[in-house]
Symmetry: C3
Subunit: 281 residues, 3 copies
C-alpha cells in the first residue's frame, strides 16, 4: 500500500460528498436515469440532466462533474457528449465515462473510443467486456452484460490487476472494472473490492447508478480520485449487502432496487469503513 | 382444445425462460422503460434498449427477440423500429408489436399499420381499441386506454373470440388483446384468460411490461408462441393478484407496482400452473 | 379572504378530479416521467405522453389539459411544446408550464419565456429562482434547485406575496412558487401554504409530479383555477407528511418516493381538508 493511499480514508471520501453536495451533470440513458438521479441525491450529491447540444454547454458549466453514459445514445446525445465533455475539460471538471454496451455495436464502441481520445475522461467505469472493447477493440459483450468468458476471478486476479493498471496508465484515467470482484486502479495502485451481491445483476442500472455516485465522489475528493472511486464502489456493493439483509418474504428485484438506494441514503462514514471489503495491490 | 395446445404447459414455458435467459431488444417509450427492463430481469430474461437508427442493426443482431412499443414514438425511433424490425425478421427473431395509442393519433395508427405490413410481427399485443384501430383503421382510443365502448365482456365473448382469431389469421400473428378478460389467439385457438385485478390499470405501464415479458416467453418457446404468450399473460395477471394480496394499510399504486414485479421475480412453474385461470376455445 | 375563494373547498377540488378523471397530455423530461404518470393515476387523473411534433397535435386534442415541463428539453420537443401549446390554447384546454432550470441555461430561459409569450399558459409552477429568471431574465438557478439566496421566508413573505401577485397579473396566469413555503396566486389572492417536509427535496421530481397533479386539478375545476392549484400544492405537501410518517428504520429516499405517491393514491377530501395548512392573503 503506497503512502499516497493513506492520505484519505473511504469514510472521509463520503463525508466530503456530504459536506460539498457536488452538482453532477449526467448525459445518460433514459432506462435508468431516474435511479441515477435518486441515487445521486441519496449519496449526498445533486443531479442535473441535459442532452441537447444547445443546452449542455451552459448546464455543464455550473456543475462540478460530468457523467457520460452511452446507453441509449443517439446522434443528438453523442454531439451533446462531445460539447459537454470538451467544456468540462476546459473548466477542469471531473469527467466519467460509462461505455455501456461498448463491444455490442460499432456505434457504441467507436463513440466510447472517440470520447476517450478527445475528452480524456478522468474515470472510466464499465464491466470487463466493455473495457476490453474500448481499449482493444475486442471483447465479446453480451448485450449490456459482460460475457462470462470475460470475468475477473480469483484465478486470473494477478493478470487482471496488471491489465487494469496498464489501461489506467495508457488512458491516464482511473479505471473501475466492476463485476463479482471489482477493480479500481490508477497506474500505481489497484483496489480489489469484494463487496456486493450477485442478485444486484437482477436490477437494471446498478452500474449506471455507480457511475453517477463515482462522479460525485471524485468531484468532492479531487486530489484523491482513485480512493474516491474505490469508496463509491465499496458504497454501492455494501448498500447491496445491506439492502439484501432487509428483504422480506415475497420481495423481489423491484423492492431490492428501493432498498439499495435507501441504504445509500442512510450510509455514514463508520458503516462504510466497517463494511468495506478491499485490499490494495 | 386442439392437440397442438397440449404440447407444452404454461409452467414449461416459464421454465424455458428461466433456463435460456432470452435477450430482448426493446425499442420502447421512455415513460415505462425502466419497469420493462426490471420486469424482463424479474421474469428471467435480459433486456437491452436502443433506438438510434445507426445502433439498432448491430444491437438487435445479438438478441433473440425484438419488442417494438410505439408509445412516445418519434421520427428517429420510427426509423429505428423499421431497421431493427427488418433485421430481426431476416434473422428469424421473435418480433412483438405493442401499438400504444393506435387510434389516438394519425402518426401512431399509420406507424403501427406500417410495421405490421412491412415487418410482419409474430405477436401483436394491445387493448381492444388499439387492435381495432390497427386492423380496421377505426376504434375510439381514449388516450392510451381502451374506450369503455370497446371492451371484451362475458356478453360479447363469442364474437370477440371469433374477431381475435380472424385478426390472427389475417396478420399471421399471435394476437393478445388485454383488458378485464384477456384473449390470446392464433388462427386456430384462443386462450380466454381471467387473471389480474382492476387496480392494475392504476399503474402506468403494466401493458408495456407484459409486452416485454411476452417477447421473452416467445423467444424461449419458439415452437409454441401462442401458448408462450398466454403463459406471459397469465403470469402478469397472477402477479397482479399476488402483489395485491401483499398490500398493507396505506399502500397505493407505487408500492403495488413494486409488488407486482416482485411477484414475477418469485414466480415458479407450480405457482403459475395453479394460479392461471384460463380456458381454450 | 375574498368571496371568490369561498366558492370551492380544497376537498371539492379533489372530488372533482376523482369524478372527472381528467386526461392530461404531458411533454416532460425523461428523468421523472414515470413518476409523473403514476402520480397522475394516483390522484385520479389519466396521463398520456407524446413529444413528437407530428404526433402532439392529435394527442393534445383528445386531452383536457397540457403539462409542459422543459427539463431535458431538446430541439424536437421544443417544437412539440409549441405545436401542442397553440393547439391546446385554440381548444381552451388548461395549459401549465414548469420552467425547469430556467436561469441555468440560455436555452431554458428563452424557451420558457417564449412559451409564456406565445402560448400564454394558465398556470406557471416553479421554484423562486426559475420564476425570477422567467420574468426578470435574472435569478441565480443552482442547477434545477433554487439558489438559497432566492427563497421565500417568513421574513420576506409580504414582499414575496406582492411579487407573486404582480407576476400573476403580468402573465395573466396562476403562479405557483414552491419551496419551504409555497405561494399560489392569481392577481387578487395568494394562498400561503406550509405543508410538506424538507426531505422531499431528496427525491427527484416532486416538483414535476406536482405540475402534473396541478394540471389535472385545474382541468377538473376550470372555474376555480387558483383554488385548484392550491389544492394540488396542499395535496402534494400533505402526502409528503403522510408518507414520511410511514417511514421505517432503514428506509430512505427511494421508499419515501413510493410512500408519497401511495399517500396521494389514498387521499380523500376529508384528509386533505383537515391536513391542509394555508392562509389566504
Amino acid at each position: 500500500m503506497s503512502e499516497k493511499n493513506l492520505k484519505i480514508t473511504l469514510g472521509e471520501c463520503l463525508e466530503n460528498v456530504h459536506a460539498k453536495t457536488p452538482l453532477v451533470h449526467n448525459i445518460t440513458n433514459y432506462v435508468t436515469v431516474n435511479d441515477v438521479a435518486n441515487v445521486l441525491l441519496a449519496c449526498g450529491g445533486s443531479p442535473i440532466m441535459s442532452d441537447e447540444p444547445k443546452d449542455v454547454y451552459d448546464i455543464t458549466s455550473i456543475c462540478g462533474g460530468l457523467n457520460i453514459n452511452i446507453g441509449t445514445l443517439n446522434e443528438r446525445s453523442i454531439e451533446a457528449m462531445m460539447i459537454a465533455g470538451l467544456r468540462s475539460k476546459e473548466l477542469g471538471h471531473v469527467i466519467l465515462l460509462d461505455p455501456v454496451g461498448a463491444g455490442a455495436s460499432m456505434l457504441r464502441t467507436k463513440t466510447a473510443q472517440s470520447i476517450v481520445e478527445s475528452v480524456k475522461p478522468d474515470i472510466i467505469r464499465g464491466n470487463i467486456s466493455e473495457i476490453k472493447a474500448l481499449i482493444k477493440g475486442t471483447g465479446t459483450t453480451k448485450g449490456v452484460d459482460a460475457d462470462s468468458a470475460d470475468s475477473v476471478t480469483e484465478d486470473n486476479l494477478d493478470d487482471m490487476v496488471a491489465f487494469v493498471k496498464e489501461v489506467a496508465a495508457k488512458t491516464d484515467a482511473v479505471i473501475a472494472i466492476t463485476g463479482a470482484i471489482d477493480l479500481v486502479a490508477d497506474a500505481d495502485v489497484c483496489y480489489v473490492i469484494r463487496n456486493g451481491r450477485k442478485e444486484m445483476s437482477r436490477i437494471t442500472g446498478t452500474g449506471c447508478q455507480l457511475s453517477g455516485i463515482a462522479t460525485a465522489y471524485a468531484v468532492a475528493n479531487p486530489d484523491n480520485k482513485v480512493d474516491a472511486v474505490a469508496a463509491a464502489v465499496c458504497l454501492m456493493g455494501l448498500a447491496g449487502e445491506i439492502g439484501w439483509s432487509r428483504m422480506q418474504e415475497g420481495d423481489g428485484n423491484s423492492t431490492y432496487r428501493n432498498r439499495i438506494i435507501d441504504a445509500i441514503f442512510n450510509m455514514d462514514a463508520k458503516t462504510l469503513e466497517e463494511g468495506a471489503k478491499y485490499e490494495i495491490r
